[in-house]
Symmetry: C2
DNA sequence: GTCTATATACCGATAGAC
DNA sequence: GTCTATCGGTATATAGAC
């Protein structure tokens, strides 16, 4: 546990505000002045406590990934059957992205730039999460529960679905205000139902 | 057809190079100087022919969307059954994103920022593409071919899967060099097969 | 540890020669 | 239409007082 994970309220507040700015504007688009203003601290405080903009970004990314990935790996490990593990994987990921709305936009930006600014610990987690799903799929296939599938594509499909759902809220709002009358009504319900629907669709796609 | 769609080689070259820069670095991260250098033109030429950085971005986005969306809508319209339309929808989208590697990263960045910099024509296309899929799903359900599903979630799942696949190539490369030995081998084949695999998975998820 | 003031560098955009 | 040179604004980062 590094210094920056400590419960220093000033630092935590900076990280929290920085996350939303990085999510909405990206590393290049975010402004240190604005982060300081919205966090209610002097700009020099950020440099004193954390370092430059790049360190701030790395720490935000690292902390998010750490928390989400540990919960995901733990929840999956608590199940035994492949389908239960897959549902736990999907449900936990939906929950994580719901609890932390900045995570999906930040990860999508990183995908777009080839993961250039993902800190090393983050890449390790990306890898572990991928390998975990690969093993779930392998287990399901060996037990005859899942049909054969390319694990890389399946992985991308699951992650992509959930990420796009999680990051898509502002876009949906924009489209709904622009094309009010033309959209089919009642497409969105509560988050619990949505996680279940995504799980159902994906499990349905993979099962024999 | 606007002036910027004309076959002026200088302008086309600028747009082509700008697309790759916007895809990799985003609007805020891209540098006009670098775009001019890589396009082999003087920086002032960009301002003379196109306008500022924002106009350059808008035009790149608009032209990409226009070309991709027209092809998508046309290919879907040429089919009759819901499954054929769905396969055409998915296959054409995969092809489009393959032919234009900048499209997926740019769209993912726009998702992350709530579509803030999508020009109006682009938003119209986003809406038409969404409505097209909604109607395909509706047709399939009415004909008893597809099971019931929330169209918004289904839509996000399809788009998300394909976008993540298309934009994920640099990330895959990064992970493959970092975690060479640990990855399962032969996960990636040729693009035609990949499009088919994605189609199969998604159609399988939706069919009764 | 927190503030003000400022250094330093960069970047988008343009003026003006040709 | 294309070049050079440069302006003006802005952003990161820091020095130094308190």
């Amino acid at each position: 546990m590094t210094r920056l994970e400590s419960a220093d309220t000033t630092t935590m507040q900076i990280l929290k505000v920085a996350a939303s700015h990085f999510a909405e504007k990206g590393l290049a688009g975010a402004r240190v002045d604005e982060i300081a203003r919205d966090a209610g601290v002097n700009k020099a405080t950020i440099y004193y406590h954390i370092g430059g903009k790049a360190e701030l970004y790395s720490e935000v990314f690292r902390a998010n990934m750490h928390q989400s990935a540990e919960k995901l790996l733990s929840n999956v490990a608590s199940k035994t059957s492949a389908e239960d593990k897959l549902r736990a994987y999907i449900t936990t990921m939906v929950e994580n992205l719901h609890d932390n709305p900045c995570a999906a936009p930040m990860m999508m930006r990183e995908m777009a730039s080839g993961g250039e600014n993902i800190p090393e610990e983050g890449l390790n987690y990306v890898m572990r999460i991928f390998m975990t799903l690969t093993e779930i799929l392998k287990q399901g296939q060996e037990e005859g529960e899942f049909r054969e599938s390319n694990p890389a594509i399946t992985h991308l499909m699951i992650i992509g679905s959930i990420m796009f759902y999680a990051a898509g809220e502002p876009m949906r709002q924009k489209l709904m205000t622009l094309f009010d009358g033309e959209l089919p009504q009642q497409v969105f319900t509560d988050d619990g139902r949505l996680a279940a629907e995504i799980s159902d669709l994906l499990v349905h796609a993979l099962k024999n």
